[in-house]
C-alpha cells in the first residue's frame, strides 16, 4: 500500500474527516493560547480550569444553554474559589488548586452519570473525536474562532501582561482585566479541546505546544507560528495512528505531542539539552587546551 493510500483511505469516512477538521481547529487555538500560558506560569491553573469547566458544560447541556456559557461560569468560579481558599486560610495555592479542580471535576462526573443522555462518561473523560457530529463541529468552530480572534487581537497586551504586569499597570492598562481575558479564553478553549482529547488530557494540548516552541525560539512572534504548526502536525499524525493501529485517538494525539516535545527538549539547536551539553564540553576542552599552551 502506498503512502497516498495510507493517507487517503481514512478520509473516505465522513467521521474521520470531521475528526481531522475538529482536531486541527482545536490544535491551533490551544497551541496559540499555550504560548501565553507557559510564559505567565499558568500551566497548573490551565489544568485546573480545563477540568473545572466540566460541571458547567454538563449543566449547560441539561438546561439547553450553550456549552460556552457553562464553561465560562465554572472557569471563573474555579479561579475565584482557588483565590478565596488561598487568601482566607493557611492552605497554599497548589493545594487550593488541587482541591478545587478535582472537586469540580468530580461534581461534573456525578452530573454526567445522573443525566439521561446518549453521552457516554468515557467520551467526556477521554474525548470522542470519532463521534463528533456536524452540530458539534459547528459549535467548536465558533468557539475556536472567538477565542482565536480575541487572542490575536489582544496579543501585544497579553504579551505585555505576561512579561511585565507592573508596566502594563503604570501605562494605564489593567492587569486584572487582561488576566480575566486570558482566563475567559482559557475556559472557551477548554470546551473546544474537551471534545478532542477529553477532560483528562486537555491540559496537554494547552501546555506542550507552547513549551515546545519556547525551546525553539527567542521570539514570541515565532512561538505563535511554531506552536500551532507543531500541534497540528502531531495531532493529525496522532489521529492517523489511532485509525491504523485502532487505539485511543485522544491518547495518541497527546503521546505524539509528548514525543515531539522530548525530541525538541533533547535536540533544539538553541535550548536543547544534548547540544548545550556538547557545547559546554567542547568549551571546557578548548579552555583546557588553552591552559596547556
Amino acid at each position: 500500500m502506498s503512502i497516498i493510500d495510507l493517507l487517503w483511505e481514512p478520509l473516505q469516512y465522513e467521521f474521520m474527516v470531521r475528526a481531522l477538521v475538529t482536531t486541527v481547529i482545536a490544535a491551533i487555538v490551544c497551541a496559540v493560547l499555550s504560548c501565553w500560558l507557559v510564559l505567565v506560569g499558568w500551566s497548573l491553573m490551565g489544568d485546573a480550569v480545563a477540568h473545572a469547566v466540566l460541571p458547567g458544560v454538563v449543566l449547560a447541556y441539561i438546561l439547553g444553554a450553550p456549552f460556552a456559557v457553562g464553561a465560562l461560569v465554572f472557569g471563573f468560579l474555579a479561579v475565584a474559589l482557588i483565590g478565596v481558599i488561598r487568601g482566607t486560610s493557611r492552605v497554599k495555592e497548589d493545594a487550593a488548586i488541587g482541591i478545587v479542580f478535582t472537586t469540580l471535576l468530580a461534581l461534573g462526573l456525578v452530573l454526567v452519570s445522573v443525566t439521561p443522555s446518549q453521552t457516554d462518561l468515557n467520551h467526556i473523560v477521554f474525548g470522542n473525536i470519532l463521534g463528533v457530529s456536524n452540530g458539534d463541529l459547528l459549535q467548536i468552530a465558533i468557539l475556536a474562532a472567538v477565542a482565536f480572534a480575541v487572542l490575536i487581537f489582544k496579543r501585544r497586551d497579553l504579551t505585555l501582561y505576561a512579561f511585565d504586569p507592573t508596566h502594563a499597570f503604570a501605562i494605564g492598562l489593567s492587569p486584572r482585566v487582561l488576566g480575566a481575558l486570558l482566563l475567559g479564553v482559557l475556559a472557551l478553549t477548554a470546551v473546544v479541546a474537551l471534545q478532542v482529547v477529553g477532560v483528562i488530557l486537555v491540559v496537554a494540548m494547552l501546555i506542550i505546544p507552547g513549551a515546545t516552541a519556547y525551546l525553539l525560539t527567542d521570539r514570541f512572534g515565532r512561538m505563535l507560528i511554531i506552536a500551532p504548526v507543531m500541534s497540528v502536525v502531531s495531532s493529525v499524525v496522532g489521529i492517523y495512528l489511532s485509525y491504523w493501529i485502532d487505539a485511543s485517538s485522544g491518547g495518541l494525539v497527546v503521546v505524539v505531542q509528548g514525543v515531539v516535545f522530548t525530541a525538541v527538549y533533547l535536540l533544539s539547536p538553541r535550548h536543547g539539552v544534548l547540544l548545550r551539553r556538547l557545547r559546554s564540553r567542547s568549551a571546557a576542552r578548548s579552555r583546557a587546551t588553552a591552559r596547556m599552551r
Binding site: 501605562i171 494605564g172 519556547y214 527567542d218 521570539r219
Partner: protein, 244 residues
C-alpha cells in the same frame, strides 16, 4: 514632580509606611535610601497607585496617580528579580512596550512609534543590540533597555527600583550619566538604592526611609552619620559614644 502627603500603608498587621510626606522635584535626580524592607518598594507602589494608602495622598505633576498613568507620565524600571530574563522578547520589543499607551487597541505600532523607539535606543546606546533577546544583555545594558522604554514612552516621571544591583561600575557610571541627562531634560527621576558610595555622583537630593521619613534634603546632609544611623536602625551614636 512627585508629592507624597501623610501616606500610611499597612499590610495586615505590618506597617510598611507610616505618615510619610516628601517631595521629589522635577529636573533633579533624587536618591531613595533605605534598608531592605524599609518600605522603598511600597513607596514606589503607592506612587504608581498599585497600592492604595490607608491614609494620605499622592500627587504626580498636579494630578492623581490614575490620571498620570492614563497620560503615560509614569516610566518604571523594575528590579532585576522581578523580570523573567528568558522571556522571548527582543530589546526593541521591550522598548516598544513603552509606546503601548499611545497606540490603538491592538497596539499596532506606526512609523512615529518606530522612530521614537529608535531614538530611545540610540539615547541609551543600545542600537547595535536592539534585536538581541533581552536576557542576552549584561546587567547594565538590561537596565538601559528599560530606561529606554521610559524614554520612548515620553514619561515625565521615571522610577528606578535598585538599578545598580548586579551592575558593574562602568555600566553604573553610564546609567548615572544617562539619568543626569534625563533630569536635565526636565524629568522627575527617583532612584531607590542602598549603594551609599554611589549616591554623591548619582543624586542631587536624597530621601532616607525607614517606614517613616527619616530625612529629606541634600546628599551631603543625608550621608551624615547621625542620619544614616537612624535610617539603618542603628542608634550607634548614643550607645557608641561611651565605647573605647
Amino acid at each position: 514632580m512627585i508629592s507624597v502627603r501623610g501616606v500610611s500603608v499597612r499590610y495586615d498587621e505590618v506597617v510598611a509606611l507610616d505618615d510619610v510626606s516628601l517631595t521629589v522635584e522635577r529636573g533633579r535626580v533624587t536618591g531613595l535610601i533605605g534598608m531592605n524592607g524599609s518600605g522603598k518598594s511600597t513607596l514606589f507602589k503607592t506612587i504608581t497607585g498599585m497600592v492604595r494608602p490607608a491614609a494620605g495622598t499622592v500627587t504626580l505633576d498636579g494630578g492623581t496617580p490614575a490620571a498620570a498613568r492614563r497620560r503615560g507620565l509614569l516610566g518604571y524600571v523594575p528590579q532585576s528579580e522581578d523580570v523573567d530574563w528568558s522571556f522571548p522578547v527582543s530589546v526593541r520589543d521591550v522598548v516598544m512596550m513603552g509606546r503601548y499607551g499611545h497606540l490603538g487597541p491592538t497596539r499596532r505600532p506606526r512609523a512615529t512609534d518606530r522612530d521614537a523607539v529608535d531614538e530611545a535606543l540610540e539615547r541609551v546606546e543600545l542600537t547595535h543590540l536592539a534585536d538581541r533577546q533581552i536576557g542576552a544583555l549584561s546587567g547594565g545594558q538590561r537596565k538601559r533597555a528599560f530606561v529606554a522604554r521610559g524614554i520612548a514612552q515620553g514619561s515625565g516621571i521615571l522610577l528606578l527600583d535598585e538599578p545598580f544591583a548586579g551592575v558593574d561600575k562602568k555600566s553604573e557610571a553610564t546609567i548615572v550619566r544617562l539619568l543626569r541627562e534625563l533630569a536635565d531634560d526636565g524629568r522627575t527621576v527617583l532612584v531607590s538604592t542602598h549603594d551609599l558610595a554611589a549616591l554623591p555622583a548619582l543624586a542631587d537630593d536624597a530621601v532616607l526611609l525607614l517606614h517613616r521619613l527619616v530625612f529629606q534634603g541634600s546628599v551631603a546632609d543625608a550621608l551624615r552619620p547621625e542620619n544614616l544611623a537612624r535610617a539603618f536602625g542603628l542608634d550607634v551614636l548614643d550607645g557608641g559614644r561611651d565605647e573605647p
